[in-house]
């Protein structure tokens, strides 16, 4: 309940929350540090830190490349956990880990949860772990007050949404459309209808990411979702303009 409460409390103060994403070790932990500082300083409400994996099947080309470059630079799971601990201790916002299930599985489910807990991590996003495969793990996470954050897709039926909600905690991540990360979606009635279905399915906060570029995109979500997710846009920004561009970008969104 820790993460859900934190977000709901913050939400009372803002029309919409912002969650940002980064790939750990890309381009380096040092740059990660500078980016996170700017994110926090500019009012980000929650940060999703991706532990890189060699086979990120649900990610698009930008995040895929970041995963590979990070691994090529020698990033380890242990270093990611330590970095997460450092961040959670430094800033007063929720930090989440996002990764693929094999990282958790290979580390050991229980051992991973203990390490994440010790690091002060409050939620986990594992896109290739549906509740059919990870129900027990999700229970173990909740028992440790680490929120298992589940993803709902436009293809999910109402029944499926309810089922997912039954396992989820912290918030619900609404995938805005089919496809992998990093592509722009279209607004429109179909999309709003989908968000309305999500809203009916859960009392948890709703996070939505769809390739947000600017303030207008964020504004379009107000009243329809609780949190806008900035994904691969930050990575591209850092690649193209350097880490110092992140702060102004975040500041411009809301």
């Amino acid at each position: 309940m820790q993460l859900e409460e934190t977000l709901k409390k913050r939400r009372k103060e803002k029309d919409i929350l912002l969650m940002t994403h980064l790939v750990l070790g890309y381009p380096s932990f040092e740059v990660n540090r500078r980016i996170i500082r700017q994110m926090v300083d500019n009012g980000v409400d929650c940060i999703e830190m991706q532990i890189p994996f060699s086979e990120p099947m649900a990610d698009g080309p930008v995040i895929l490349k970041a995963n590979q470059d990070s691994l090529a630079a020698g990033t380890t799971v242990a270093a990611c956990l330590e970095f997460g601990r450092e961040m959670a201790a430094s800033y007063d916002i929720p930090f989440l880990f996002m990764t693929y299930y094999n990282i958790v599985f290979k580390y050991g489910e229980e051992r991973f949860l203990e390490a994440a807990k010790a690091a002060g991590i409050t939620g986990l996003i594992i896109p290739d772990l549906p509740p059919e495969m990870g129900g027990e793990f999700m229970t173990m996470a909740r028992d440790r007050e680490i929120a298992p954050i589940l993803i709902i897709a436009p293809t999910s039926t109402d029944e499926r949404m309810a089922e997912l909600n039954g396992w989820a905690d912290g918030f619900i991540y609404c995938a805005a459309r089919r496809g992998v990360t990093g592509k722009k979606s279209e607004f429109g009635s179909e999309f709003y209808e989908y968000l309305a279905r999500c809203r009916r399915a859960t009392s948890l906060p709703l996070a939505v990411g769809f390739g947000i570029q600017n303030r207008d995109d964020v504004a379009a979500l107000i009243g329809r979702a609780d949190m806008a997710v900035i994904g691969s846009r930050t990575i591209r920004l850092v690649d193209e303009e350097g880490p110092e561009a992140v702060g102004p970008f975040i500041a411009s969104l809301r």
């Binding site: 060699s54 099947m57 094999n102 599985f105 290979k106 059919e132 589940l150 993803i151 499926r160 089919r178």
Partner: protein, 404 residues
């Protein structure tokens, strides 16, 4: 979708409904006897099934032990057992009303087979292939394109098979309404391992009937190479409930201690993991990152293995061995000279192990080697492996013509 500890469907939520539909369609097909009839009729008319079980008199005499029989999947249309799987999935796609298929390919044979199936069924077709493999396997790319498929070179990761699989999944989650992902082997999320194995079981059903007709009784052993494991699953299923020893042969590459191999079930370098949508033994490091693999046979050069085979390994129902690159070339050489048959480099792995063991068996015993495909498509690799000087001269002369 689990086999012992292995298998499952570790898939993004966006694919949930798609897999449900696939599972339902597959379940319906399995329960509908007319489906299997339609499938076997299609394979008989389009792909020369049943393929023969060729008695290898000369090899048998050479080794002086068991009678050696070769199941001839090389005689399928497109030259390999891959045809069985794609045509079966083609029928399912037709039933689901989808209009586009995608596939990954390593050596190019599954891509060839899928492009062929797509042409036959009138589907649009995109094939994902690691950029390295595109370069290695240009002839296959040429044919796929000629059959109307779009071949997309994948430039991520190691730019080989596993990366092509990831990329195909990315396509699928984007285009799931009209698109079916024709998975190429008995791996991936459920129901693929079981479904692909089911289509491939046509091999074992035929072989079991044929060996009894020709040899009078069941074989002592059955050998198959194991990459993803579909040809092995195909032939093994004909004998799972019988007193027949089943032997899977993995790619030993430069040797199990070299780090340059693709042995998941018989080496010491693999460990349990979850990737590409399923749980099995993977070649990965301590952090769970996948390792690069090596084999002279592109089709065996893969980090994972069928979860059904991992389970059969646990249960000791299948024995796993490995063959090194150099053993493979020697076995290929012998088979060509003595029988006039050219096994694919992949299939040659099974021949290696059979040759190691044939002379230990009595004359009245039979063994079956599953020849998963033909080797003449591997001319660029095999001529290279034999270091044939005339071949090199030929290629250089051709290039000189093209440079003009």
């Amino acid at each position: 979708g689990f086999f012992g500890h292995w298998g499952g469907a570790y898939i993004p939520e966006v694919l949930h409904q798609t897999f449900r539909q696939l599972q339902e369609e597959y379940d319906k097909a399995r329960q509908d006897p007319s489906f299997w009839q339609e499938y076997t009729a299609l394979m008989a008319n389009y792909s020369c099934r049943p393929t023969p079980l060729t008695y290898a008199a000369n090899l048998s005499r050479h080794f002086g032990g068991a009678q050696i029989y070769i199941k001839r999947e090389d005689l399928n249309h497109t030259g390999a057992h891959k045809a069985n799987n794609v045509m079966g999935q083609g029928l399912l796609v037709q039933r689901m009303g989808k209009k586009r298929v995608i596939a990954e390919t390593g050596a190019g044979q599954h891509g060839m087979a899928t492009a062929t199936m797509a042409a036959k069924f009138g589907f649009a077709c995109t094939i994902y292939m690691g950029e390295v493999d595109v370069r290695r396997q240009r002839p296959n790319v040429f044919w796929m394109e000629k059959m109307g498929a779009t071949v997309v070179p994948v430039k991520d990761g190691s730019r080989t098979l596993k990366d092509a699989i990831n990329e195909a999944f990315r396509d699928w989650v984007t285009n799931l309404d009209d698109t079916h992902y024709v998975f190429g082997t008995a791996c991936g999320p459920a129901p693929f391992p079981e479904m692909v194995s089911w289509f491939q079981s046509i091999i074992g059903r035929e072989a079991a009937r044929q060996i009894v007709e020709q040899h009078g009784r069941l074989p002592a052993r059955v050998y198959a190479c194991v990459g993803g494991g579909s040809n092995a699953m195909g032939v093994f299923q004909g004998f799972l409930n019988d007193d027949v020893e089943l032997v899977g042969v993995e790619a030993g590459g430069h040797g199990l201690d070299s780090g340059l191999h693709a042995a998941r079930l018989c080496g010491r370098d693999a460990s349990p993991g979850v990737a590409q949508g399923y749980k099995t033994m993977f070649l990965q490091n301590d952090d769970g990152q996948m390792l690069e693999t090596h084999s002279v046979a592109a089709g065996l050069d893969y980090v994972g293995v069928s979860p059904i085979l991992s389970d059969l390994a646990d249960k000791k129902r299948v024995r796993f061995e490995s063959a090194t690159d150099s053993e493979v070339i020697a076995a290929l050489d012998l088979t060509m000279r003595l029988e006039g048959i050219i096994p694919a480099l992949e299939s040659s792995h099974a021949f290696v192990q059979a040759f190691k063991e044939a002379s230990d068996l009595p004359n009245n015993a039979a063994i079956i080697i599953n020849m998963s495909g033909r080797g003449d498509k591997d001319i660029f690799t095999i001529a290279h492996a034999f270091d044939d000087p005339s071949w090199k001269e030929f290629i250089i002369a051709r290039a000189d013509e093209y440079r003009k």
